[in-house]
């Protein structure tokens, strides 16, 4: 194999110090909005992003719809209604605070996006007259056309628009810089956030960030159970960059987490049996509500929540008789009767009735507007479909008026996974927080996928901006705190160690071993002995394999540290699973040694954090956030007034 010269500068050992009022770790949707909120309040902001902010994060290359924009002028629902419905739908293992913020402020963030140059309306009148479009505002809706709270958006324009706005506001962007550790100050036994360490993933340079407040906006963990050493970029739904480093560094720093025992059977992975998301015939999210047919071309019926077959395509977008609204989208899998929307007939029922496999999505039978909005706009704007699906399939000759696209599973997963092939999906665990989105450590905030029970793009944007506001308020009063040089020195030593080895193990080998361990010891059915066995195996990897990992350049070093973070998160997950001594349906959690399902005494958030190498467990009531509207309004009077004037045509005077 021919060797190439490393094309970037070698800055190993070089260190710089950067000071900012507010430090944002992660440059996805949540991080960008957090930085914008703080910068708008006149504070100096540094944003640290492992990739390139212009296209990084889970929504980097696009997003096709924006959920719960309940305050848009066409919406027929209130933020309270939808946020409470989400909490109820998830049996209260839900992030009420974050959902309410999403429902209440998500549309404000879309209006911000539009002011930055992102496209949120059908300004070219491409869909004029369509049932899903409001011809006055030119907003377009998905799912529930009666209640109009989910918007179709042109998300390929979003990240570049945010990136340019960050630059315009003077946010200092540190691209290609991986945040690796939180720095804390300790005064009179109290820990506070003081900054973070970052490492350039092209040059190896270390940056020590000192800040008055810090916001974690990195991804949820990934590559815990699913890994493919040949095609690691395809083995998860989110980008390979996004593996939960925020969870890992938070865990190491003593931040409190919850719901980490929850994992679901895999839903997306394109490196094995599964197909890339929205790349095969399906009728979910991007493709809702595509017409599905069986192998003979016989149409598969859609039914309402009462099992009534729907005859017209249009009926798929309206609540059932007597139902106010229905829920669909990211975390809504098999909703309760109250929130269930139109769906194709149950797979098993279809088999009983003699429908023949394989199924196909057949857009040719849909009204022209519905066909064009799916194959065109939605498939064109969703994150990983514009080029590899819309463009490539069109080049291969696919024409939605003439062809039907094969489907490969019984549902939106586009594949069948084994029960032990798990993912943190469907509102997974994350940082426990208060109404300020503050963590248990003063000065450290969190938003987006970093929060427990996180959801979609609108969730990330709204919580990001909110955390940015709160972190800015705090930073205005907080001093810059001293950082401990020894902490920095230890972190540098940890970071560089794999570069200083002459030979050793590749990062893939360790990732594969962790994933196999997690499938074996933390699969679908868990029990104490297996979980302990898992912890013991991971401990041996930490002691024996981690010191063998060897990297030849900063890129490999970035991947190696991702895997070390995956190891930390896997241990946190095993501990969280040990702490819940019962089974739980909403948490998709089965303990063979504690088969009792959702006993009253365990209907609570179990929290965990690390202190002095020990796991400290805690318990928080499910509805700790109180009445969502009341508690929100109590704490956000200034913003409510600001928003009324800025986004809703208010006159600048308090309403009488």
């Amino acid at each position: 194999m021919s060797q190439y010269q490393w094309p970037y500068e070698n800055e190993v050992g070089r260190e710089e110090e950067v000071t900012a009022d507010v430090l944002v770790l992660g440059g996805g949707i949540a991080g960008c909005y957090a930085a914008i909120a703080a910068a708008r309040r006149g504070l100096s902001v540094a944003l640290v992003e492992k990739g390139a902010t212009i296209r990084s994060g889970a929504a980097g290359s696009g997003i096709d719809h924006w959920e719960s924009a309940c305050t848009n002028p066409c919406s027929k629902v209130t933020p309270k209604e939808i946020a409470e419905a989400y909490v109820d739908e998830q049996d209260h293992y839900s992030n009420g605070i974050a959902h309410y913020i999403e429902c209440r402020e998500g549309y404000d963030r879309l209006l911000d996006m539009e002011s930055f140059g992102g496209k949120i309306r059908d300004t070219e009148d491409e869909f004029a007259g369509a049932e899903f479009r409001d011809d006055e505002t030119k907003l377009m809706f998905a799912y529930d056309y009666a209640n109009r709270f989910t918007l179709r958006v042109w998300g390929t324009t979003f990240k570049p628009a945010l990136f340019h706005e960050l630059k315009r506001l003077g946010v200092k962007i540190f691209d290609r810089t991986e945040a690796t550790a939180l720095l804390l100050s300790e005064e009179e036994g109290k820990k506070r956030g003081a900054g973070a360490v970052g490492m350039n993933v092209r040059t190896g340079k270390i940056t020590v960030f000192r800040s008055r407040s810090t916001i974690l906006t990195m991804s949820r963990p990934a590559r815990i159970w699913l890994f493919h050493p040949d095609l690691p970029g395809l083995c998860e739904f989110r980008p390979p960059q996004s593996i939960g480093s925020g969870h890992a560094m938070g865990w190491r720093a003593g931040i409190e987490f919850t719901m980490m025992e929850k994992s679901v059977k895999g839903e997306f992975s394109a490196s094995g049996r599964s197909f890339p998301p929205y790349a095969a015939g399906n009728n979910h999210n991007t493709w809702y509500a595509a017409t599905m047919v069986d192998a003979r071309g016989v149409e598969i019926p859609y039914v309402d929540r009462d099992g009534r077959e729907l005859s017209a395509v249009s009926e798929r977008y309206y609540p059932a008789k007597g139902q106010k609204f229905f829920l669909k989208g990211g975390v809504i899998d098999n909703p309760k009767y109250e929130y269930r929307g139109p769906e194709t007939l149950d797979f098993e029922e279809l088999m009983k009735r003699g429908y023949q496999l394989p199924f196909y999505a057949d857009l040719s039978r849909m009204p022209e507007m519905e066909r064009r909005v799916i194959w065109g706009m939605m498939v064109g704007e969703e994150g990983k479909t514009r080029i590899p699906v819309l463009q490539n399939y069109t080049e291969r000759g696919f024409d939605p008026k003439l062809h039907m696209l094969q489907s490969y599973g019984s549902g939106w997963q586009s594949a069948s996974f084994l029960p032990q092939e798990r993912q943190l999906f469907g509102a997974p665990g994350g940082v426990m927080h208060d109404w300020d989105l503050r963590t248990n450590i003063e000065g450290i905030y969190a938003a987006g996928d970093q929060l427990f029970a996180s959801d979609c793009c609108g969730f990330a944007a709204a919580t990001g901006y909110y955390a940015g506001r709160k972190a800015a308020e705090y930073a205005k009063k907080a001093p810059l705190r001293d950082i401990c040089r020894d902490d920095v020195k230890r972190e540098k030593e940890r970071l560089y160690a794999p570069l200083l080895r002459e030979e050793g193990m590749d990062w893939r080998e360790l990732n594969m071993a962790i994933s196999k361990a997690m499938q074996n010891y933390c699969g679908e059915v868990k029990c104490r002995d297996l979980l302990l066995e898992g912890l013991s195996l991971l401990k041996s990897y930490r002691e024996e394999a981690v010191p063998q990992i060897c990297c030849r350049n900063p890129h490999e070093l970035m991947r190696a540290h991702e895997v070390f973070d995956i190891l930390d998160v896997s241990e946190m997950i095993l501990h969280a699973c040990l702490l819940r001594e019962s089974s739980s349906e909403p948490l998709c959690f089965v303990r063979s040694d504690f088969p009792q399902t959702d006993p009253q005494e365990d209907r609570r958030f179990i929290t965990l954090r690390q202190e002095g190498g020990e796991v400290v467990a805690g318990s928080v009531p499910l509805d700790y956030f109180g009445d969502l509207e009341e508690e929100y309004e109590k704490r956000n009077r200034d913003y409510i007034e600001e928003a009324r004037v800025k986004y809703y045509g208010g006159d600048g005077k308090e309403n009488e």
Partner: protein, 118 residues
């Protein structure tokens, strides 16, 4: 000698706060394309102008700039490609980059059928 790299690094005195120290050869980086079963990104040399925008926007950093000016970047880590298409979307010259999923991920499509229930 097993500890050669570490020794050099420690001797170079860069493991302290000397932020201004110029780079030395304490740790020499090396890289070679990491083979994988797929070929996600293919450049058309006759079209590519070698501007390098694709490598700048790739969040996964699978592309590295080519040593030759005006040449397309090298697909150094093809297995890590996330198939998001940002490189193609950023490319100023249509047709310079082709991004295609591995063969196994090409979903099948057929002409529509209007079957009857039997």
């Amino acid at each position: 000698m097993m500890a050669e790299k570490r020794e050099k690094y420690e001797k170079s005195g860069k493991n302290d706060r000397s932020g201004e120290t110029a780079s030395s050869d304490a740790v020499v980086f090396s890289v070679c394309p990491v083979p994988c079963s797929a070929r996600p990104i293919v450049y058309d040399d006759s079209v590519c102008i070698g501007c390098g925008r694709c490598a700048e926007v790739c969040q996964v950093d699978v592309l590295v700039p080519s040593a030759g000016k005006g040449r397309h970047p090298l697909v150094m880590f093809p297995g890590e490609c996330y198939y998001c298409g940002s490189c193609v979307m950023e490319c100023p010259v249509p047709g310079a980059i082709r991004l295609v999923h591995p063969l196994m991920n090409q979903a099948k499509f057929v002409p529509v059928r209007s079957g009857k229930k039997t």
